[in-house]
Symmetry: C2
Subunit: 305 residues, 2 copies
């Protein structure tokens, strides 16, 4: 019940941010999620090696997204922004150097590599969401991504509950079944096909509700000739599988840390990391795929606004 109430509050909020927020605000919201997830991840990593530093990583993530949000608003200072975006490259060296202080030599490399993983595992996927929103019709691609990642959960839950027999990964996630997993993939494909099919209508409805910027109302979403719906289904299958792997990966990290929930921020939902684990794997692939379907021949032209 708590779970449903939280969802009822959160989902419209998320959609409003996706549709209406200016880019800097969207970036700030992604940054908030990134900071909370990074802090939870680093806590879990600390259970793998006690010398993982939690604060430097969390601060770095906050600083990077704050700089990104500000740089979208403020003109100039480009070279300073350039230097700040070098920080993720320098950070692993900082952690390695800090490891020299430790009395246990094994811990120097372990804590530095666990701490560095916050960048590819948390920062990059949430930055990828910003990249997706920056695409033309970015709001639609985000909506589609969320649908591919989360709609499958409902199918998985009901099919798994009623027909689930073969366990998927009993050591990692004892309740998941192959039946539920396959239902999730197929469900996501179905929802995607519907979403892409009705995209023009969704677009004009949202437009008439003033939920979209004017120039965003347009019927052509997939610049691939013919086979729209087949492409949509294929993308959904791939993204949904990655999302489910992301879910399992976070489970195994928690299991390795000897912990049940990644945090307790959202009532009934566990931590933020528990909510976005699937997205962490799906978002980078989605950015790549959404960018590629604009590149691929025959059109072979990149979008220029």
């Amino acid at each position: 019940m708590k779970r449903i109430l939280t969802a009822v509050v959160l989902i419209p909020l998320v959609l409003l941010v996706v549709f209406k927020a200016p880019l800097w605000l969207f970036t700030a919201v992604c940054g908030l999620f990134a900071v909370l997830a990074a802090s939870e991840y680093l806590s879990l990593a600390k259970n793998h090696d006690p010398n993982v530093a939690r604060w430097p990583g969390t601060l770095l993530v906050a600083f990077l997204f704050a700089t990104l949000a500000l740089s979208l608003q403020i003109v100039g200072g480009d070279w300073l922004v350039g230097v700040i975006f070098c920080l993720p490259f320098i950070y692993p060296f900082f952690l390695l150097a800090m490891g020299l202080r430790l009395s246990e030599p094994k811990s120097a490399l372990l804590s530095a590599s666990l701490g560095s993983l916050v960048l590819p595992y948390i920062v990059f996927p949430l930055a990828a969401l910003i990249g997706i929103r920056e695409l033309r019709h970015g709001w639609f691609y985000l909506l589609w991504l969320f649908a591919m990642v989360w709609s499958g959960d409902i199918f998985a839950y009901y099919v798994g509950k009623n027909f689930g027999k073969r366990l998927l990964a009993p050591r990692i996630s004892p309740k998941k079944t192959w039946e539920g997993t396959i239902a999730s993939v197929l469900g996501a494909a179905l929802v995607s096909v519907l979403l892409v099919y009705f995209a023009p209508r969704i677009s004009s409805s949202l437009g008439s509700l003033h939920l979209l910027p004017g120039r965003e109302v347009t019927p052509s979403f997939l610049p691939v000739e013919g086979d729209h719906l087949l492409v949509a289904a294929a993308i959904a299958i791939l993204i949904n599988i990655l999302a489910q792997i992301g879910d399992l990966v976070e489970s195994v990290i928690k299991r390795g840390a000897g912990v049940k929930d990644s945090g307790s921020l959202l009532p009934g939902h566990g931590g933020i990391l528990d909510r976005i684990d699937a997205l962490l794997f799906a978002a980078p692939a989605a950015l790549l795929l959404f960018s590629l379907i604009r590149w691929v021949p025959p059109s072979a032209t990149r979008y220029i606004d």
Copy 2:
């Protein structure tokens, strides 16, 4: 003796590659070092967690540098090259997903983060060398970087041997002294000042020996007004300190792995990683600094060829 012989063969070879090799060959040589160093690093990391995968990382490094070297020669296929350069971002997710197969849940995160660190720790610094060579007068900046990193070693060795009393980091590197360390920093600063002071003469000598491309013969190396030599000394101090930290970091990684040499490729020199450990920390900082001294006001203009 073996050590000196190896050096006598290697140093002229390195300088020839720095001065004369076309960019694709220079890239290929950096790639060779990267592949060997990556393979040694992953062996050391395997001693931290037995499930670190050695071959995928080594292959990825080889593939990335091969693509880079080829893309410098071949025109077109830009989008394919773009996709390949997404691989470093995707690789941590691949390793995390592979971790799902392991029976020990702690090892999933540990092996993935240790394996991912090959990218910032090995690939990025060796790619930074290519970036430095791509700068205007890149050959000079590379020469300078090598001088800052390695000239200090000679000072450290003789001062440390004769005057060394206070141990720097007995747990990590039992022979290093504070006296040797400071001698290294000051020696590198001295060599740098001389190198920058004589840069025009070095340039024209090398030019008349046909060791440089014609357009590279020019007397202005540091686009900073006045205080050339002070800037050179300051850069050398910073880079040399980073280089020595890099040396210690590799020592602590070996100590954590319970190993004396990182490998045995070069007679008398240990492994490749033992040779380039200092460079791994120095090269990224050098690229940043060398780029910045071109940016900083008053000139505030980026170099355009």
